[in-house]
Symmetry: C2
């Protein structure tokens, strides 16, 4: 399907046309909305809903209010704006493109390697801070304001937050310190669109009287319509006069604003109460409908303002760069098993941090509402609540994305584990893939974070069948706490385990044959690469025994010793950093078993920060795709040293 966008030259033209501000800004916003639609459709993913709710404020800031358009982006006295929520960045990119800050070659590559990251990243022109993990923005803004003051630099600091994002407790830490430190050069704007993910905030965790909260924390508070440019301008003008305290404006906005069927409440009414346009690209028909609505509205403005012909550009289609995928989602099996298990096991409950759709918990939520606990975007609170539940003899199952659960709640997990009760942590979105959302979401430290605790088993399933086994084991059988890693995307291929396979403590299972060369890996993404690498090697007459190893930090030592008898080259392919993963734990165990001396041991993992792009782009970038893996194995078993040795 072809997609079209409005080239920068058209923005230049209308900016030169000496329109009134109240004519120019709404038109620019409409044009940027169309370009955002283009970006997201072309990328195949991205966040439209909040790009649209925030758009009018962002256009006001960049096209009218901030000094960057005059003094430039390298000037230390420049005004600084960024979005703390970060997922509204396709909209921000569209605005930055309209001003020529983001160059066209990048604008055509949302969520592609070398293009525009799925969440804000400093390497992109115009982006002032890395965001995407929620709740950090106000703290960071205060740091920028401090740095400006310390350096004697001018320029205002403006931070946008989401409203659901305000559930994160760090915001309140930041609110109190900003007042205490007398930091008045910080303005927060809340994109209060009333929805988080696909439901109303009040349904998840209500913000209550938000104005009263901000006031109780000592901030100057304003409230205005975030789609009314005069109202927006008045807020900022009023704020200029307040120099003794930090300022926050709650902008009432509409998620999906600008495309009628993406706006709430209509969008929810038309979809059984759920908001469809939070994340992901619209299907072709919806795209077409949205495109036409925006395009006609823009054309009407061009006509009424005598702006002449609206030039559109249709770029070459971009290679999808997607690996072939199956229709298996391993996490779906997890969700199904939870529902099934709940029938006979009354002793576990599910906790969620506003990701129930992504974590495949909706069926459980609907079937067992009394055993489903929604904590909102407040992972620390969720984990400590789980601790209390465990103290009452139940098994709590905490769900979130791996990055948020393993890292943000790390001390809460330590506290809980020190109490010795069993808790299950379901770390969704573990590993490198999908790589489109960028490094705030790609999780490559979770195994090391959980393996650092003395009493947690870390597991990952190869396919849906093993996922079911692991879920049952974790909840009903395991004696200690369990962390389950889950791939969030579809399985590239459905991994076939032997029909006789039984899930057994500390043991993996060989999927291919090979006597001297063994490769351990786990999870559907890397098993796929490993099996494809094995096929490449087989064609070259080399054998590689690929072992699916669901146990990432607990091993049956006898099995290991038997399995590795006669092995000369042992490889570990990590869907994780090369430090702290299965490789480190295996190496230590093989050293203890005294079998390490007889073999070469080589760990491949995600070096550095994970790359943003399509799955194949990211895998290739990190040399973890099948061809790179085969090449590295070949270099090693052929006797030559591989060129990309493990860094320390």
């Amino acid at each position: 399907m072809t997609t079209r966008f409005i080239p920068k030259s058209e923005f230049d033209r209308i900016r030169a046309a000496q329109l009134k501000t109240d004519q120019l800004l709404p038109l620019v916003a409409k044009m940027c909305r169309l370009n955002t639609l283009f970006e997201v459709k072309r990328a195949g993913s991205g966040h439209l809903g909040s790009s649209y709710s925030a758009m009018d404020i962002v256009v006001f800031l960049y096209h009218h209010y901030m000094n960057v358009k005059n003094i430039g982006w390298d000037n230390p006295d420049r005004d600084i704006y960024y979005s703390s929520k970060g997922h509204d960045v396709p909209g921000q990119y569209a605005v930055l493109y309209s001003l020529g800050i983001v160059p066209e070659e990048k604008f055509l590559k949302l969520r592609r390697l070398g293009g525009l990251d799925g969440h804000p990243d400093l390497k992109i022109p115009g982006i002032e801070a890395n965001t995407g993990s929620l709740g950090m923005g106000i703290s960071k803004g205060r740091g920028i304001a401090f740095g400006k003051k310390y350096r004697g630099r001018k320029g205002r600091v403006i931070v946008m937050t989401g409203d659901g994002e305000l559930q994160e407790g760090q915001n309140f830490e930041a609110l109190q310190s900003t007042v205490q430190q007398g930091c008045s050069n910080l303005t927060v704007v809340v994109d209060h669109n009333k929805l988080q993910s696909d439901r109303y905030i009040d349904r998840i965790v209500s913000l209550g009287d938000l104005e009263a909260k901000f006031k109780a924390f000592g901030w100057a508070v304003a409230r205005a319509n975030g789609h009314d440019y005069a109202a927006i301008a008045k807020v900022f003008a009023d704020f200029e006069k307040i120099t003794d305290k930090p300022k926050v404006c709650i902008f009432d906005t509409i998620k999906g604003r600008g495309v009628s069927f993406m706006e709430h409440p209509r969008a929810l009414q038309e979809n059984n109460g759920f908001y469809r346009w939070h994340a992901g690209a619209p299907d072709d028909a919806s795209y077409q409908k949205a495109y036409l609505e925006l395009w006609e509205s823009i054309k009407a403005d061009f006509a009424s303002l005598n702006l002449g012909h609206l030039e559109m550009r249709e770029p070459e289609a971009i290679a999808k760069g997607l690996s072939k995928v199956s229709d298996e989602f391993v996490a779906v099996a997890y969700g199904k098993t939870l529902v099934e298990l709940a029938k006979s096991n009354k002793d576990f409950v599910i906790l969620d941090a506003d990701l129930s759709l992504d974590c495949k918990l909706r069926e459980f939520e609907d079937s067992y509402p009394e055993r489903f606990i929604e904590c909102g975007i407040a992972e620390q609170d969720m984990v400590s609540m789980a601790a209390g539940i465990a103290l009452q003899g139940l098994v709590p199952v905490c769900n979130s994305f791996a990055n948020f659960l393993a890292a943000r709640t790390n001390e809460q997990i330590y506290n809980l584990l020190s109490e010795g009760k069993k808790v299950v942590f379901a770390c969704h979105y573990a590993g490198l893939i999908p790589a489109g959302p960028g490094k705030s979401h790609q999780s490559i430290r979770d195994i090391s974070l959980f393996s650092a605790f003395p009493n947690v088993t870390v597991l990952q399933a190869a396919n849906s069948i093993e996922m079911d086994m692991i879920t049952r084991y974790a909840i009903s059988e395991a004696k200690e706490s369990v962390m389950i890693r889950l791939v969030i995307g579809p399985s590239p291929q459905v991994i076939q385990l032997p029909s006789s396979y039984q899930f057994t403590f500390g043991r993996g299972v060989a999927l291919t044959e090979g006597s001297e060369n063994v490769l351990f890996t786990y999870g559907s993404v890397m098993l796929n690469e490993a099996l494809n690498a094995e096929a490449i090697l087989r064609e070259k007459g080399k054998n590689l025994r690929v072992i699916n190893m669901p146990w990432l930090n607990r091993f049956d030592k006898e099995w290991l010793q038997t399995e590795l008898r006669g092995v000369k080259n042992c490889f570990v392919l990590e869907d994780h950093a090369p430090r702290g993963g299965l490789g480190d734990r295996l190496m230590a165990t093989l050293n203890e078993l005294d079998v390490l001396k007889g073999m070469e041991f080589d760990v491949m993992g995600v070096e550095g920060f994970p790359a943003c792009g399509t799955p194949l782009e990211a895998l290739k970038f990190h040399k973890l795709d099948a061809e790179s893996v085969a090449e590295r194995v070949l270099a090693r078993i052929g006797g030559a040293k591989a060129s990309h040795l493990r860094a320390v």
Copy 2:
């Protein structure tokens, strides 16, 4: 010096004497205050100030309000109380002892192995939750309340928080969710003593209008004098009538209440504005003074209430169990270097999370107030603020205890590191020792947490001289971010480095000689054990080359190869868990260098959760004291396998 306490029999006697409640409870509280003084003086450390401010509320709850004294501690319908701040636990232990819940043999062993942990731990009778890391209590209480409801159990849930503790953002996550989830069986009591550590809260980060905050979050709010039993009783009676929302009472209290010179404001006036009695045992003279004041007051009550003779007991003195220590504090050198460096380097600033005294930052704070940023007990906010400061081209130096900094802010650190600017993290209180405060404070995962990031160097100094070198390197020279580990206690001995020693990238330095057997370790605590182990081995005619290795995850590979030529046994002694520390990183590097095959490699570290006790008790418990280390080395180099092989 001898110390005396009031035996449980005296509490039994006055409880049987049919006193009126308003006579009994204040007297019990005084007696418990005396016993708390005893505990802390005997232990040599502990928190008196907030044990005393909370005491009247705790006595009211256990001796009057809660059902546990009637239905017993194993009854699932029991009321549950715990303190979220946790450091007031010596006072709680005294109350639990007065009721016979904590047995006398444990009561005599505060902060000793097998006795009473420095912060609450479930294994101690009467303790309902592990606490000590701040801000988790309300969330956990909600979990307990949920569990009770789900299980159909009776019993109220009451959580005490500190006031400084309310700076932690997690509290606000918990407040919002408790209302959303309709959890009305949760009562929070705030011990609002107005001080945090050694200064007024308003001086650190003001709580502002605390009542307004709680109300804005939808809670039922009361306020009362926390030392007035009638007022306390009225609050709880009123709360019984509120069944539709969670309840919080802000109890105005006095830190040090009950001992005149420990009460604020007097205590601050007499000590240059600082509160001396937050942590640590009083000196002998102060102890004597406090003891007499309490004892005379209690005696007077006994006389006026016709309770007869007050029996006191004087237990045998407890062996101090302290290793010999020097007067060197490595962190003092860190603080001095910061002050010195600041004269010539204007480009770094210091951030603190209410631990400036412990982190030896006071001189910097006084000398460079414009470069010292106090963030309060809000580590996440501190780290994200540092990110913003780094974006303005400064080097922020974040300070807190290792457990709080490495774990609680893990995701904020990841976000910041992904921006590629340099930040220094000073992780104080790293390692196993001191072991008195217990596992909430002992940090044995910080190396693994920081080594999991791709761009942080982790360093630890052997002595003050190396500390100075490391501090200068981190702030002025290092190209990437640096984490500095610091021992918080005194050095057991001052480690002597060769006079020619130069701090060089990736290199350690041998402190003793030995050709075949090498032991790598770091920091003053484990270097002391290693050197003592070496002396033991030397007496047995065995040589061990002890290498001080300040670089915990960055190595000069050429140096390593040279250093390990001819080595048959390589040991690593970790002041850390055996997973994820120097050992793992060294092993991976030696594997890469292909020198691992020629040697035995053995890592000793802190297995399981760190034990509470004196330094020697904890070291022996974990088999990391000199004798255990020597024994393990001997078992290995003598050819026999050591008995305590590394677990996985």
